[in-house]
């Protein structure tokens, strides 16, 4: 019997010690997801609470104990989607001035903390943010995104393209600011 099996089983039996252990293990992961999708800290906390309650309440639905981390994360994402119900507007044309090469972006990213990266993503419009998170970070395909957000697949694609361009702009700007501040 695996460690996760024991954990799940005892949580289902209502043993508080194991419920706390489950929380301790995955609260950071769930909060990370919430921070990426939410508009701000307050909204993230609301989603976090709702998501974790769903985790406990639906734990009996988990068929494979080893899938627990991914399952928890999936619940967090779904909760965020249901909570925020993002409004995906028409994609505005973004002036592509991202002439920096890929290596430069890599260096920029290496210099940024995860919190800074999340902050950059949070600054994007809601539609961009959700499509970018779902597609790039959480691995949804465009069909799934269109199903979840109630948009056409083509809209999902265009939103993603626009989100990527916007991200590069922000990264570049942040990088310039950073170098300027260092200098």
């Amino acid at each position: 019997m695996t460690e996760l099996t024991i954990l799940i089983r005892n949580c289902l039996k209502g043993r508080r010690k194991y419920q706390e252990e489950l929380y301790s293990r995955y609260s950071g992961l769930v909060m990370g997801v919430c921070m990426r999708y939410a508009r701000d800290q307050s909204q993230a906390e609301d989603i976090f609470q709702e998501a974790f309650i769903k985790v406990y309440q639906n734990l009996s639905e988990l068929q494979e104990p080893n899938a627990l981390p991914g399952w928890v994360k999936k619940i967090a994402v779904n909760t965020a989607l249901n909570y925020i119900r993002p409004r995906v507007d028409r994609t505005d044309p973004i002036n592509d001035q991202t002439d920096a090469d890929d290596q430069e972006y890599h260096r920029l990213i290496d210099h940024l903390t995860n919190e800074q990266l999340v902050s950059i993503i949070n600054e994007m419009p809601e539609g961009y943010r959700f499509v970018f998170n779902m597609s790039v970070i959480d691995g949804y395909n465009h069909r799934e995104i269109s199903d979840h957000l109630g948009i056409a697949e083509s809209t999902s694609r265009s939103q993603l393209t626009a989100a990527k361009k916007l991200l590069r702009q922000r990264l570049k700007k942040l990088g310039i600011n950073r170098y300027e501040s260092v200098n």
């Binding site: 039996k13 301790s24 906390e45 976090f48 974790f52 991914g70 995860n114």
Partner: protein, 446 residues
């Protein structure tokens, strides 16, 4: 360019897909508390609170209604005193009133009537007189000879009111107030005790001729101390009906997962169960009565739950771990619907905690076991048992005497019973611990 773009997104994914942020402080405990309460348990708690509320309100009503006669006594006596002190009260009337006697209870004067046969009552002799009256009262109880009785209370005829009141107060409880006219042919058994009390108490203020020491002696001795006859065992029987609530405890150590427990509504007739008790009671003192009895219960068992194994035999291989998995368990719903007969013994005590003999606090401890064959249900290829273990129950209630006659008394008893035994058999899939709230009616011989 496309390749470099993908690698940038991959880099971001690598950084953020397992990104963890510090959770809000203190939220974990609150979430677990919220989940632990569970949607199924909340209604149960609400029902319990509601039932307890009803029980407390009912009990309060009993207490208040039972104490009314004594309150009446006090208020009426106060009123009478006021009247006696009023200047409008004729002197001749005051001389013959008990209040007049009470006013003379300073014992500085000899209280005499026309015959002059009444002894002088002095303050320093009050305690002795009271003791003598109590002593005489016991003698009256032990004697069936009329002349003996008359001789016993003869010395105290026309004793001042405050001495009689003091005697009555020594005989604590409302029993002392049950003062009856020995010539009264009224069928006392047809009255409730409240009526009896009200009537008797009002007699106190009527006049000296209607409140003689004889009357007190005749009717109060029995409550000074239980006579030998009263100390004997008396049969009694109780019949009750109650709502039964089962606390279902799945076995924490087996591989079965039980969920979705469903039962009838809090006050559903499906929960109605029945109770019978037959035994002996003995009055240990004026305040405590002990009861030992045989009990039988008919428990209504109607509930259902889902059951499944911890892991399914039809597990779908997990691909992308971020996929939301759909359960494919072999889930089965178990429906239980039957009555269980149990039998056992019970020891309880009625305690007079209020200054009123009609209302008593009841505390009890009982043991019973199910007489039906072992309960089982089938799941998979195995037969699983439902453990309804040897039950130890604590009970708590208020017994109110609603009617009494020379031969016996009828009482009502709102009662709450709670099973004390938790899981004791790890081989059983499910253990049941009962909790019940009900109403019992009992009749006991005197």
């Amino acid at each position: 360019m496309n390749q470099s773009t993908n690698s940038l997104e991959d880099k971001l994914k690598g950084r953020l897909q397992d990104y963890e942020a510090p959770p809000p402080p203190g939220m974990g405990g609150a979430i677990i508390d919220q989940v632990s309460e569970g949607p199924g348990s909340s209604p149960w708690l609400v029902s319990l609170a509601l039932l307890l509320g009803v029980l407390l309100i009912g009990t309060g009503y009993y207490m208040i209604s039972g104490q009314e006669p004594e309150l009446q006594e006090l208020s009426t006596a106060d009123q009478t005193v006021q009247n006696a002190e009023s200047p409008q009260t004729p002197a001749s009337s005051a001389q013959t009133s008990r209040i007049d006697l009470a006013e003379k209870s300073t014992y500085s004067h000899a209280a005499t009537d026309n015959s002059g046969s009444v002894p002088t009552w002095k303050p320093e002799g009050k305690e002795e007189v009271v003791k003598n009256i109590l002593s005489a009262s016991e003698m009256v109880v032990s004697s069936s000879n009329t002349s003996d009785i008359q001789n016993a209370y003869q010395p105290f005829t026309n004793a001042p009111l405050d001495i009689l009141q003091e005697t009555v107060s020594r005989i604590s409880g409302s029993e002392a107030a049950i003062i009856a006219d020995e010539n009264d042919e009224t069928d006392w058994g047809s009255h409730s005790l409240e009526q009896l009390n009200s009537r008797s108490l009002s007699d106190i203020n009527v006049g000296p001729s209607e409140l003689s020491t004889e009357q007190i002696l005749l009717y109060t001795p029995s409550v000074v101390r239980p006579s030998k006859k009263q100390r004997h065992y008396h049969w009694y029987g109780d019949l009750g009906v109650f709502f039964l609530y089962n606390h279902l405890q799945p076995n924490r150590y087996d591989n079965l997962i039980m969920e979705n427990f469903e039962t009838s509504g809090s006050f559903s007739l499906d929960r109605l169960s029945y109770f019978a008790e037959f035994g002996l009671r003995r009055e240990l003192s004026r305040r405590v009565t002990l009861r030992a009895s045989a009990v039988a219960n008919l428990f209504a068992q109607k509930y259902s739950f889902d059951i499944r194994d911890e892991t399914s035999s039809a597990v779908t291989p997990v691909g992308n771990e971020t996929e939301l998995l759909t359960p494919v368990f072999d889930r089965q719903t178990i429906q239980m619907d039957h009555f269980l007969l149990s039998a056992g013994v019970r020891l309880s005590t009625d305690i007079k905690v209020f200054n009123n003999d009609l209302n008593r606090l009841m505390l009890g401890l009982g043991y019973h076991r199910i007489l039906n064959p072992e309960q089982t249900f089938e799941y998979g290829d195995e037969t699983h048992t439902v453990e309804y273990p040897h039950q130890l129950t604590a009970s708590f209630g208020f017994r109110k005497v609603v009617w009494q006659s020379d031969k016996g008394e009828l009482s009502l008893l709102p009662v709450l019973r709670y099973g004390l035994v938790h899981q004791i058999n790890e081989s059983s899939a499910l253990t049941i611990k009962p909790f019940s709230v009900g109403l019992t009616m009992g009749y006991g011989l005197k």
